[in-house]
Amino acid sequence: MDKVIEITNRAVADYGFRQAVMYGANDIGRRWGLTQAEQAVLEGTALDLLISLPVPVPPADIPMEQARLEAEIRAAG
């Protein structure tokens, strides 16, 4: 799940990239070379988490949010 976590880490930190993931998860998965299992997590758990994030994530909260999403994604994977 390292690639999915790399994607979500960037999506937490950058709203523009987050939009690219939320509305183009297929495309992002293809560009990252995700496996079917990773793609399923990206389009499931990861998208659900990203959609619920504030816009934008305050800079001070980014490490905390990244850690929270990583834990949930690893649990889902």
């Binding site: 950058d14 709203y15 523009g16 990239f17 987050r18 939009q19 690219a20 939320m22 509305y23 183009g24 495309d27 560009r31 990252w32 816009v55 934008p56 305050p58 800079p59």
Partner: protein
């Protein structure tokens, strides 16, 4: 006469001359100075008069119609009599726009499209012509903004994602819309660039480069298609209060700081850009093609 009557000309002289720190936006600006005088030179026409139905019987596609400037444009177009295809990659956003417009099936449609996919763009144009009979106007508003480090550290993925949407996607939209407009005998394309494409910005190398490309594509395409009745123009907005801008600004405090540093004391509103788009899209701009209009509230002009 609708809410669009509330143009700049509704400000009293006292209000205009007031040395205000923050210039407030009217609820809905008319297109100052242009939409107010009939083409026939109607006697008695004055700056408070607005022509309604400026896009009557026109069919328009607005990419990025799911939010921000695109959404405001869809609203203005529908108000002025157009049939509007709300195109966006974000289905929920596009459908929310359609719900806000309160247009029926005969006047609005949603197209969920990834504009970086040529097949999807062709399908969008084909379906528009099939459903509404023609295509008169294309507004290329879809774009993404990914912040990047300085050029030598920009990652390929950020470059590619940005270019694929902001430049290649816009290219595809023009590529497939132009033949439909030629078949229709005329058309107007309005490309949305950015001040970052004019002056460059440090916070996103690919975004600024892509938006500069949009300006250049506009000039080239206008040179090639104006003689066939297709007017192609560009707008370079400054900071506009859109979800994208708020999302790419680090915090509410940073956003307020940006407004405080602006000569008008505020950033622009999507409706203010939509008004310029409307004018360029309409027949009132019949002698305008190949131009780029800066709409930044005087920010660049007053920059040191």
């Amino acid at each position: 006469m609708g809410s669009s009557d509330m143009g700049l000309d509704t400000l009293s002289l006292a209000e205009v001359s007031k040395p205000c720190a923050k210039m407030t936006a009217p609820k809905m600006l008319g297109t100052p100075g242009f939409g107010k005088i009939s083409l026939a030179g109607k006697a008695g026409a004055h700056l408070g008069e607005v022509m309604a139905g400026r896009l009557e019987n026109k069919v328009a596609i607005v990419t990025g119609g799911g939010s921000g400037i695109g959404r405001a444009t869809c609203q203005r177009f529908l108000d002025e009599g157009a049939k509007v295809v709300i195109a966006d990659r974000n289905r929920a956003g596009a459908e929310a726009t359609r719900a806000l417009l309160e247009g029926g099936d005969d006047t609005t449609a949603v197209s969920v499209v990834n504009i970086s996919d040529s097949g999807q763009v062709k399908q969008m144009v084909d379906e528009t012509v099939s459903r509404f009979g023609k295509l008169d106007v294309l507004v290329n508003g879809a774009a993404i903004l990914i912040r990047t480090p300085p050029l030598a550290e920009v990652e390929d993925i950020d470059w590619d994602l940005t270019m694929d949407t902001n430049l290649k996607g816009l290219f595809y939209c023009c590529k497939y819309a132009i033949p439909a407009m030629i078949a229709n005998g005329a058309g107007s394309i309005v490309n949305i660039s950015s001040m970052s494409g004019v002056r460059g910005v440090a916070y996103s190398v690919p975004y600024a480069v892509s938006k500069a490309g949009v300006i250049h594509l506009t000039k080239i395409a206008a040179g090639q298609y104006t003689s066939q009745g297709i007017r192609i123009n560009c707008i370079a907005p400054g900071g506009i209060d859109t979800p994208q801008m708020r999302g790419s600004t680090a915090s509410a405090e940073a956003f307020q700081g940006r407004e405080g540093g602006h000569p008008m004391g505020r950033v622009g509103r999507p409706e203010e850009i939509a008004n310029l788009i409307l004018w360029l899209a309409s027949d009132e701009a019949s002698y305008v093609s190949g131009s780029t209009y800066i709409a930044d509230g005087g920010s660049w002009a007053t920059a040191e």
